[in-house]
Amino acid sequence: MTRIIVVTSGKGGVGKTTTSAAIAMGFAKKGHKTAVIDFDVGLRNLDLIMGCERRVVYDIVNVIYGEATLNQALIKDKHCENLYILPASQTRDKDALSQEGVGQILEELAAKDFKYIVCDSPAGIEKGAHLAMYFADDAFVVTNPEVASVRDSDRMLGILASKSRRAEQNLEPIKEYLLLTRYSAERVKIGEMLSVADVQDILSLHLLGVIPESKSVLTASNSGIPVILDEKSDAGQAYADIVARYLGEDKPHRFIEEKKGIFGKFFGSK
């Protein structure tokens, strides 16, 4: 059975595209046939993060309008043979997407035995974001530890619960997971950021993982390699944990506490 995962947030710039690229690569590396779809028509950048921007010929809008087949538009990833990217169009606007067209693409991917389909949502609650989440089975709600981002995530959760296909057809609701990204334990400690507990208290959502604020994310996106492939980096490890947890492995949470110095290690309280 295919699982459709939407990576969503409401707010922009919180790490949706970074997350979509990382987890799609994570699933593929674990041996699952995976597709990642950029729904950010007009502002596409998933292909940049995935390092395939120079191989884009056709995009999702071409497929919807019958100007290309899905096979022609899907780009095979150069690092992992189980991974395919369906880029967004840079030249069309968001209204070029239609619910029927998106539904057909997802059906076709399911028929091609894709195990996971990751939908990278644009910011906002407009058409693109709506279509990215409409067919989802699971939602990865990407949130930064600050009040505005948490509020937008809450709003998006309301939309998932009322405007999705599962809600409209009275099916089992979308499974919702919290991903807290760009987390800085140091800044939480001095009160500049909400803590994991604060965010969970406000959203009451199952925490799938915490991704620390990390320079490795920028380095990775500049070189077009999803950060999860940087196995030495904290952010890469955090995403690997998230993929493992989602697939049912039991991994304790990391990156929540401040890194302790040598004295902290020996004498610090837990």
């Binding site: 509020r151 809450d154 709003r155 959760l157 309301g158 939309i159 619960a161 009322s162 609701p173 208290d201 406000i202 009451s204």
Partner: protein, 239 residues
């Protein structure tokens, strides 16, 4: 289409549908009161199915004109989907308008009941869940809920969410959004919650915003109740 897949299937389901019980045949007054009711919660009533019950009128031998009544109901945005307690002639008229006929309620209201019911126009169908609506999932920012009886929420109500009930509101979790009880004017309605951090609370139109809430008697993260004393909202711990 493959021939072995079924084209259709009949299932039986039970729904809670509002019933409009009429005590007057004054079409103008009916139209006005319906509109007032609908205006209170337009989202809730818009395109709502409605069964109208003319039993009480017929007891007084005042046979209302069905096509005119149907017209008035439709004008208020409700969709009449059944008649109850009609005369043979009325049922015929309703059927001519493609409105199904339901058999009248076996237990007719006593006159004392009638007296008590006169204020209310729309009666929810008596059923196990008619008096309380139970919500088990969080009510998120941007979501609105309306219950025609009591509203019981077993999860949190987020900031930016709005819950309304004609009766009492119970939130067995944190209440951060707006909660409005007794929205049809029931001054005895109360709000209960296990952690009060609401943006706004209101009973029968008397409201307080979070800035004005007197929390001196209230320990945060403890269960409280809110009720009306005169026109003042009282917030008290539940011991």
């Amino acid at each position: 289409m493959p021939t072995n897949s079924p084209t259709l299937e009949f299932k039986s389901g039970s729904f809670s549908v509002p019933i409009l019980i009429l005590f007057s045949d004054d079409l103008k007054a009916i139209g006005q009161q319906l509109q007032e009711k609908v205006d209170l919660a337009p989202e809730f009533f818009k395109n709502s199915p409605l069964i109208f019950d003319v039993q009480e009128l017929n007891k007084l031998s005042r046979a209302i004109d069905i096509p005119a009544l149907v017209d008035i109901i439709r004008q208020s945005g409700l969709l009449p989907t059944g008649i109850r307690g009609g005369t043979t002639q009325q049922n015929k008229e309703a059927l001519a308008l493609l409105i199904p006929v339901y058999s009248a309620h076996s237990s007719t209201l006593t006159s004392a009941d009638t007296q008590a019911q006169k204020q209310k126009i729309i009666e929810p169908e008596p059923s196990v869940n008619a008096s309380a609506t139970i919500i088990t999932r969080p009510v998120r920012s941007g979501q609105r809920l309306y219950a025609s009886g009591d509203l019981i929420v077993l999860a949190q109500v987020s900031a930016g969410a709005e819950i309304m009930a004609e009766g009492n509101i119970h939130v067995y979790n944190t209440l951060r959004g707006r909660a409005l009880a007794g929205v049809q004017g029931n001054v005895d309605a109360r709000i209960f919650c296990s952690d009060l951090q609401a943006e706004l609370i209101s009973i029968a139109g008397n409201y307080k915003i979070s800035e004005d809430m007197d929390m001196s008697d209230v320990v945060s993260k403890k269960s409280v109740q809110i009720y009306l004393q005169g026109h003042t909202l009282i917030i008290k711990d539940i011991i």
